[in-house]
Symmetry: C2
């Protein structure tokens, strides 16, 4: 009759094999979050549009899925609104709710709405789908999961340290080799300040970010095109070419920010000479260096720890890392897989005024978000799933008919009692069909009982991989499957 | 600045304590489903409206949340459509997608769409939220979870048996005492046939269903009001007053359906006399009795099973049980909690043509659905959550400053390595504030290290319940918290 049904573009069905893998990913992240004292919350799929609109920029507003008001949604709406305001204005009249676009804004809303019940600092995690009306393409979906952890109400850099430990522990459990990149928004601000181009910070970062791909000369050409004066570009060169260990990079940056020069507001340090060229000094840039240094040193101190809790991943200070520049205010992180060519698989950072948008200013937060879909792709490509990930059936009892089934059911119950995922083929179909079912489902053991087994009180157990068959009691059957 | 933000009516935020309890419910159901060979799938929150519309009746169509098309949704829509077709017609023009209303229709769509990849019989489970634009009221939400398991592609009654075992096992694990009610749609059809009122089956069932509340006379009055002839009401009396054991009820029903009379299509049985009054005979009613009897007998045979796999719950044949009469075609189930006054907490049954609506006829299915929200209420009222449900922090390290924190971090890492959910208070706030945090979070152990502990290489561990304090090594600390 009808044509084959389908699902909206950009969305996905997850079958049993995919679900087992996805559950493994979510369960791993969940248990590490819990180990670090983070508490799970969930928020509704639908938020009021007043909560969502204006939080993701103009482009983001367009990507919100809006939900048509129920009932007579046009009541009280003057259709002439279309001529005046166009579709966005009409949408605002006929839609009160939208699907959540990320987990951060709903979290901010949650904190403000439940402020009286919460004890600060509040460490929450949240693993839920989000929806975006993006143009679907390879690896980009209209429905996908985010796995966020955030701490609000604490300025301490220990939070940054712990989030990096969490990142490291999660990828250690997955067996994915990663590099964690760290930077600090204050360093970027300091750089723009020092070269007198505070307003060009986005252009500068975008250009520097391309160094790997296009090379130094092309980066400098792009900076010039962006209207950065030659003198400023000249001053940027040590930053662009920055290399060496994290310690060396930090030393270079401290020097760049005038660590050895007097602050204009501070008394001249003893033994430091001061000339007209030397007055340039960036307090915020140096603050950024201090923050990064504290995080790196604290992690480093844990490195030789007997319980192997120091990071196993490499950590690299990367000044080209920017991440949503207008959002973050302190440390920012990003994780790259070492063995697979794929974008960032985790990111995060500190933002100083998350809840301000809902009228509760002054609450600092820091958080990370694991990209479950990309982690799924990496685990698939590297074939890193542990064998136990599957929650598929371990044992199938063949069904030869009513009497045989009745003989089988108590054994089936005993197997389940022992924790074996087991089933009986429900219909007394032909043996061949039942074995095809076991093969298609990749069930590793098949047990059968016909007249002779029933007389002997046994089952014939077949190992589907080796083909080996033997007569077993129910107890032996359980032991064989669990072995 | 702004007023306190809120969420759409009928939706809920779940905080950490609620999440721990909800996860316990979902995890329990999930693991029992897996034990019985059911495989998890997930489908998108959004389905095409063409998939959803017309599947839940006219009322259901109105309760679907529709998603406004993105971009210029009015392009090509003649605004005069409003005058012709009203808002439903306009909605159909500007909305292509809707939120899923249940898990059954998406499952049917999934089976048809993925028919080539599936091995039948297909045993799937699915635990996801659904959305309905219902009028919100106590215990009824616009977003709530369903926990469904279905088998498609098998007519065997063993599926019904196993679903009842699953129901029993889940409630046994929860510690909720329940009664499982069973009926069969064929018995209801048979009853209507026998009294010559096949078209009045809904009225009859609705009336009989009220017996408990309004009594026999009122039921009979209602039947008369519904236009059921006095003679038919008379014939119904043995059914309405049906009592006794399941076996007795089945015997009565068999008699009512003419089990001892000759079928009009069958040769007259020897020794049975045949008069004009005796020709009434319901093949379908007897088939329903056979089905119920097979399920009850098979369960009964498991009852004394050594591994306690027989049902612990009572099973009651209840002819007043109807459940979505037009949907089901065979056995139907419903579960009532014995110790809490609440509606049905689980239900299900067999339907013979689930996928027919998507052009794939002839596939029989049977399924159940646990009502997670009501189960949550029952567990709360009876206070049945196991202690281990909480995934909250077990140990807090007090933060006295940078040096003390540095001393603490390796011990914290060792605790987490040992599986203890632990945290350090991130800021070096006043001791009082940190202890208040531990109390508010109900953290059972607090560890602290000041100068003297650092000198001795120990921590002071405080049991927050007893107030007891003692000096411990890191290893002793781990043992104390895990004890």
């Amino acid at each position: 009759m009808a044509q084959k049904p389908s699902i909206p573009k950009g969305t996905r069905d997850f079958g049993p094999a995919e679900m087992a893998r996805r559950n493994y990913i979510f369960d791993t992240i969940r248990s590490v979050y819990a180990l670090y004292g983070f508490q799970q919350i969930e928020t509704p799929a639908m938020e009021n549009l007043s909560t969502l609109m204006g939080k993701y920029g103009e482009e983001g507003d367009k990507l919100l899925f809006k939900i048509l008001d129920s009932g007579d949604f046009m009541r009280g709406v003057d259709p002439s609104i279309l001529c005046e305001g166009g579709t966005p204005k009409l949408a605002a009249c006929i839609c009160e709710k939208g699907l959540r676009y990320d987990l951060t804004v709903p979290f901010a809303r949650y904190v403000v709405q439940h402020r009286e019940e919460l004890t600060l600092p509040f460490r929450r995690f949240q693993i839920q789908p989000v929806w975006r009306a993006d143009r679907p393409q390879k690896g980009r979906y209209r429905e996908f999961y985010q796995c966020d952890a955030d701490v609000v109400g604490s300025d301490s850099l220990l939070n940054e340290v712990e989030l990096m430990q969490i990142i490291d522990e999660v990828f250690r459990r997955f067996g994915i080799r990663v590099c964690i990149k760290i930077n600090n928004r204050k360093i970027l601000t300091g750089i723009a300040e020092m070269i007198g181009q505070a307003d060009k910070i986005v252009d500068i970062t975008v250009a520097i970010d391309k160094l790997d791909k296009i090379g130094l000369d092309a980066v400098n050409a792009e900076l010039a095109e962006d209207g950065i004066p030659a003198e400023a570009i000249e001053r940027l060169q040590p930053i662009i070419k920055l290399s060496g260990t994290n310690e060396e990079k930090l030393a270079t940056m401290r020097d760049f920010f005038g660590a050895n020069r007097p602050s204009p507001d501070l008394p001249v340090r003893e033994g430091v000479e001061c000339s007209a060229d030397d007055v340039q000094y960036s307090e915020i840039g140096l603050k950024g260096c201090d923050e990064v240094e504290f995080v790196l040193n604290t992690l480093h101190a844990l490195q030789p720890c007997a319980v192997a809790s120091g990071l196993s991943a490499g950590v690299e200070l990367d000044l080209t890392l920017a991440r949503g520049l207008n959002y973050y205010t302190g440390c920012i992180f990003e994780v790259k897989a070492l063995d697979v060519e794929i974008g960032s698989i985790t990111g995060g950072g500190r933002y100083d005024n998350l809840t301000g948008i809902f009228g509760m200013p002054g609450l600092s937060g820091v958080g990370i978000s694991f990209g479950a879909d990309r982690i799924y792709d990496v685990l698939n490509q590297l074939d890193l799933y542990p064998k136990e990930v599957s929650t598929a059936t371990q044992l199938l009892f063949v069904n030869f008919g009513e009497a045989e089934a009745a003989y089988t059911l108590p054994a089936l119950a005993a197997c389940r009692q022992a924790g074996i995922r087991a089933e009986i083929y429900p219909d007394a179909s032909k043996m061949k069909k039942q074995m095809q079912y076991a093969n298609a489902r990749a069930i590793p053991f098949v047990a059968l009982a016909g007249e002779s087994e029933m007389a002997a009180g046994t089952f014939t157990l077949k190992n589907m991989q080796t083909g080996e068959q033997r007569a077993v009691s129910t107890q032996q059957l359980i032991e064989a499957v669990l072995a």
